[in-house]
Symmetry: C2
């Protein structure tokens, strides 16, 4: 092995960092809390982005681009939203640097170039967008507006983790405007389904769809819908959110429209987003102690072919045969690389592609060629088989589908095995400490109890699942009556 | 006509703004100097981006993402670069807002949340990227690094224009690292060719390829290659630049590698970029007093079909036939829209799509259906013809190619007619004022003369064309000897 990875059992957190760094997904940067997304990691993000972008367009959305900066007066207009983000925002106060007279070669902020109004680097774009929509909406004929933006945002988090929590991150944010509450709620739910479909069927990560409790809502939302995923260490991860914003932003920015009855009303809003955080979820949901395990549908590279040879003659005959196989795989729509780099040995390459989570590795040696076979290895199960070169492309297409499904099934089984009911606070604490995962428990519905449970256990209500069965019970903490269980977990 | 556009002859600048705003490309925003790119404008940018991105990947580049912020100490490391951008950069100084005790509902910068080191919002990313490359490069085996980034950048321009000059803009910036000077120069030139090919063959805008004079170089570059386009008002517009950075950034950030002889040397660099400014060039190069004229290859919509009918029966038979035509056009890879909106009259629609520059408009009425024809109108030449519905998709595919070529030919003829030699300063001034365009003149090669000409005429040296013929002559201003003509123009 060329590079060592900390074992999950030894230090889960270090294991995660090792995978991200040694799997070439990202690197630390010189800027506090910001990271560099390396080409391999960015190719993964591009694949994820392209699938989502297609789904957004299929559901009638268009992309647009709004300013990076939010003037302070707009930022503070929607009070809850402002309060939620004020504590962690980057603020531009000046527009020029000048020579520092006290230090040769150094620059300093030019005090004469102070902005009249400070600019907040967007932590989310509701404010700047709703201020813009005001100019675009007069009548119900201007509605709905269905816009998405791919952008960078900044939240000045104190404790950061590669992908999971960074000061700057990439995301998409949909912002839609509607004539009725019903239509906006339907949009919110539709986008939650789009996210769930993407995360489950492309990332192979099963999710639970639900609604947040009031204290976990997005700042400024009436309702926050979410999808929650489960990581291998038993902690939950919020993978995407879709917010019904009611008329909150329309009121804050005075966005009214005349409806079909020619009466003025405030516009109804939604917003929804997923971010590069999903890459963190992907890494933690599937990988093992040998490296990343990427699902074929979004893996930057689906198949790598490694030749095994001695001398130029063997290499030449392998090159000839493999170039045909590569062409066949490409024709079948497979992202394939033939790694014939002469400077690295096959064993080193095997470890490298294992580290990078390439779903299928094909090794072909001189004797394989004679026997018309190749050694094909699955990254997920580590199964190896000697397979015929005839129809290899078809065999691999099928195998990629099996890997995709197998990864989902494995993660789904893990998720199902880790949703556990607790009927007392004692049981709740014990489960959290010994097993983790989602704990299904009764709660009295108050923010105070939620906060108390969080303080004592670090567990939060991840969501109230959609179509949650109604069941009489009593709150695990206060004993007060409850009509349904909710899902608690410790979370990223 | 639903919306009036100022005529070019009346107010060229207002004509441009009208086109951008009424053509639905962009809108002003609440943030000084920043704009909103509207869905139609963003779809155009997406088409441009996708073509360029494919070309970058075909030439071996990968995308990655680096932080938005540049710590001041890194920003100032490469002195020329720092000096070039310090005067117009947005500076983040604080990371929190707090409640303003003096004003209800208002926030203020929290003085206790002052950053130890200020962060510059990237105006360009050489500094942050070369500081990163330092950690990635040890040996010649790590080279070349061929990375591109699609990102937003901020330059605090005092006078802004939609697309042409905005405080925040979208662009791509390639940043490559090489083992030899020759390889870096070859990369610089290759990317200039990629840009020229894109601008000429997709945007239908002819360009002149050249090298900048030393005073017009990118801050920190050894050589800046550029493509220069000509607008209808006779002003030039720099459409793309590709910089050979020598070892300047490697020295500033101490990026060394051991070469094949195992000796340490500084790494050679290039950077190259084009931005949303190209959309401004596109608008000004082709459009007319009725609206935008977009080249088919990148137009968001290539064909619009407008039905002309009275009553539901006629509409139904049109719908039936047109749905077949739409399917055929889509099958032929054409971006087509059937506008059967019942709330707008055909004349209004005609004006609207003319405004938006859709290359081909197809109008079909009840009588057309009987005669198996449609009225097909070209946006660029305004030619109309009654064409058979049989094989219409094929006819239109050919027509789109003709439009693309016709637009380029027209712009090329205009460019060629507006490159004029001047042999005296008097002639030079007269040409500038009466004709505009590129003026080919001798210059003594000094920055002083260049500056003096700029002060007196507002014309700058746009470039020294590649493969420039050598010719003995004398500088139009100083009479000093010169070996070649260079191209001057007033420019955006």
């Amino acid at each position: 092995m060329s590079k060592e990875i900390t074992a999950r059992s030894q230090d889960y957190s270090q294991w995660y960092n090792d995978l991200v760094l040694k799997g070439q997904l990202a690197d630390y940067s010189a800027v506090r809390g910001c990271m560099v997304i390396k080409p391999y990691g960015f190719a993964l993000w591009e694949n994820m982005r392209d699938v989502l972008d297609r789904k957004f367009k299929e559901t009638g959305h268009q992309n647009a681009y709004f300013p990076l900066f939010v003037p302070k007066s707009l930022f503070e207009a929607e009070e809850q939203n402002a309060e939620g983000f004020a504590k962690e925002c980057a603020v531009v106060t000046h527009y020029r640097l000048k020579t520092n007279p006290d230090k040769k070669g150094a620059l300093m902020v030019d005090p004469e170039a102070k902005l009249e109004e400070e600019l907040v680097v967007r932590p989310t774009s509701e404010a700047i967008i709703w201020n813009t929509y005001k100019g675009w909406i007069q009548s119900y004929r201007d509605l709905p507006i269905l816009i998405n933006q791919w952008a960078n945002v900044v939240r000045w988090e104190m404790r950061t983790r590669l992908f999971l929590r960074t000061a700057e991150f990439l995301w998409q944010e949909g912002h839609t405007a509607h004539a009725t509450s019903e239509e906006a709620v339907a949009e919110t739910k539709q986008m939650l389904e789009v996210y769930a479909d993407f995360v489950e069927n492309y990332m192979a990560v099963p999710v639970i769809k639900g609604v947040k409790s009031p204290s976990e809502r997005f700042a400024g939302a009436v309702d926050t819908y979410c999808i929650e995923a489960l990581m291998q260490d038993g902690k939950a991860l919020q993978a995407g959110t879709s917010h019904f914003l009611g008329q909150n932003f329309a009121k804050a920015f005075d966005v009214k429209f005349s409806n079909k009855e020619n009466k003025l009303d405030y516009v109804w809003a939604t917003s929804w987003g997923v971010s590069t955080r999903l890459i963190g979820a992907l890494v933690m949901a599937h990988s093992d102690d040998d490296g990343l395990i990427l699902p074929p549908r979004i893996a930057p590279l689906q198949v790598v072919i490694v030749p095994i040879y001695k001398g130029a003659d063997q290499k030449a005959s392998l090159d000839e045969k493999i170039s045909v196989i590569v062409a066949e795989l490409k024709k079948a729509g497979i992202r394939v690389k033939y790694d014939d780099n002469d400077n690295a040995r096959p064993g080193w390459k095997f470890a490298e592609y294992e580290m990078k989570g390439v779903p299928v590795r094909v090794a072909i040696g001189a004797r394989d060629l004679e026997n018309n076979v190749a050694e094909v290895a699955r990254r997920d199960t580590k199964e190896k088989a000697s397979l015929s070169l005839d129809g290899l492309a078809g065999t691999i297409v099928t195998m990629l589908d099996e890997i995709q499904q197998g990864m989902f099934d494995k993660a789904k089984a893990f998720q199902q095995a880790n949703i556990t009911p607790a009927n007392s606070f004692e049981e709740f604490e014990k489960l959290l400490d010994e097993k983790g995962g989602f704990i299904s428990a009764h709660w009295d519905g108050t923010a105070e109890t939620e906060e108390a449970i969080k303080e004592r256990t670090k567990a939060t209500i991840r969501c109230i699942p959609l179509d949650n069965p109604q069941e009489e019970g009593v709150c695990i903490l206060t004993g007060k009556p409850s009509k349904e269980r909710v899902l608690f977990a410790r979370a990223y």
